[in-house]
Symmetry: C2
């Protein structure tokens, strides 16, 4: 069984997951695949292409629309990205750094289409869809950065705890707000907060249709809570 594009991409994903973004080098990849570094170039053009393929492997189907109201579909799409980045933080980096990422196109398409279904007038619709996309990408980028700043494989809650401790140690004169909110940071649920943000944007969109929005809830039992669509 020789090399193949799939084996290479698979090994790259493993390396990225276990050793972080800096762990993926052609030498490490070659060692894991028991070949020379140059062999990989026979199947893959360069590192960028490899990263795109790896992201593609994780994100296939993540932006696929499901049945339900446009709002619920938008929540599901957004959650799909969130969970994928949660499991594979380097996906967040790819999504926010690479313009040539096909997954980003599919995500834009899915979001845009659902916003259209929402009934937002077309001029404002493009702006609204772009806003939601950018919010999702912002969270993805932050989560990737947060994961990149620590040892790969650290427990989730731990990261927020450390960050909360830093906020509590800030100068009270300059950072009263962050200090006051540090306890909330410590024991909040990322995923919940992400959804609250999605709901906030959706509530904003509702005002664009002239329909009074019901205030976004924080608890949402209607959304599946398991980590879904990533590989």
């Amino acid at each position: 069984m020789g090399l193949s594009r799939e084996r290479i991409v698979g090994a790259a994903i493993e390396l990225l997951d276990t050793d972080g973004e800096r762990g993926l080098t052609f030498r490490a990849l070659a060692a894991r695949l028991k070949t020379g570094a140059g062999a990989i170039y026979w199947h893959v053009t360069n590192k960028d292409e490899l990263l795109i393929a790896a992201t593609e492997a994780i994100l296939t189907g993540a932006a696929r629309p499901r049945a339900g109201t446009p709002e619920d579909t938008l929540r599901a799409i957004a959650l799909g990205v969130f969970d994928a980045v949660d499991e594979h933080p380097w996906v967040g980096t790819q999504l926010t750094r690479m313009q040539a990422q096909p997954a980003l196109l599919r995500l834009s398409e899915s979001i845009g289409r659902q916003v259209q279904l929402l009934g937002v007038p077309s001029a404002a619709g493009f702006d609204a869809a772009t806003a939601l996309l950018n919010y999702v990408l912002g969270v993805a980028g932050q989560n990737a950065a947060l994961a990149g700043s620590i040892e790969p494989g650290t427990i989730r809650g731990e990261v927020l705890g450390t960050m909360a401790a830093e906020w509590e140690a800030l100068d009270p004169e300059e950072f009263p707000y962050l200090r006051s909110v540090a306890p909330q940071l410590r024991d909040h649920d990322d995923r919940d907060q992400f959804l609250a943000g999605v709901d906030l944007v959706l509530a904003g969109m509702a005002t664009l249709r002239g329909v009074p929005a019901d205030p976004p809830r924080r608890a949402r039992p209607d959304v599946p809570s398991g980590h879904g669509p990533s590989q």
Copy 2:
């Protein structure tokens, strides 16, 4: 006039602006400063610290609250970041990649405080402030990525034109939405769209107070249109 931290940071900013993020190397920096590469390490710990200092130099004061309603202040803060990233795309990368970036703390503080003033209840307030921050960071990251994908110094409109052409060339079966919206992408104003997104989030926040939001406008003559607060 020997070396100094300020001269080093200044030269780094010039290099980043003219040659892009990949243009900043210790060797190029040393050449520009007419020293050896190692000399820089006497004044600066490492490259990360240098990038943080450079971002800091650009973003000082960008998040400082001005007089006005909380909404207007939030718009001004967001615009400050947008314009800074517009002039110095690498700032967008820093903001979204580095957790230890002081400018990010100040930005979080400023946004959070204004959202408090907005009267959003404190539990939802933290979520709302985080949502706005993530939106701003998402746009910053995308603009940085977009700028990074092209030759430094390309004309702004040109980038969007190229991207619009790509969207028009997409498969009509798979990407009907992006194709339909390509013309809007071509001749829209980034900055306008960014503001529309901020207004969307603000409209969402308004629903959290139970106050009916007036629908966000697209034209906004009340906001200064010049590129302001960066260096």
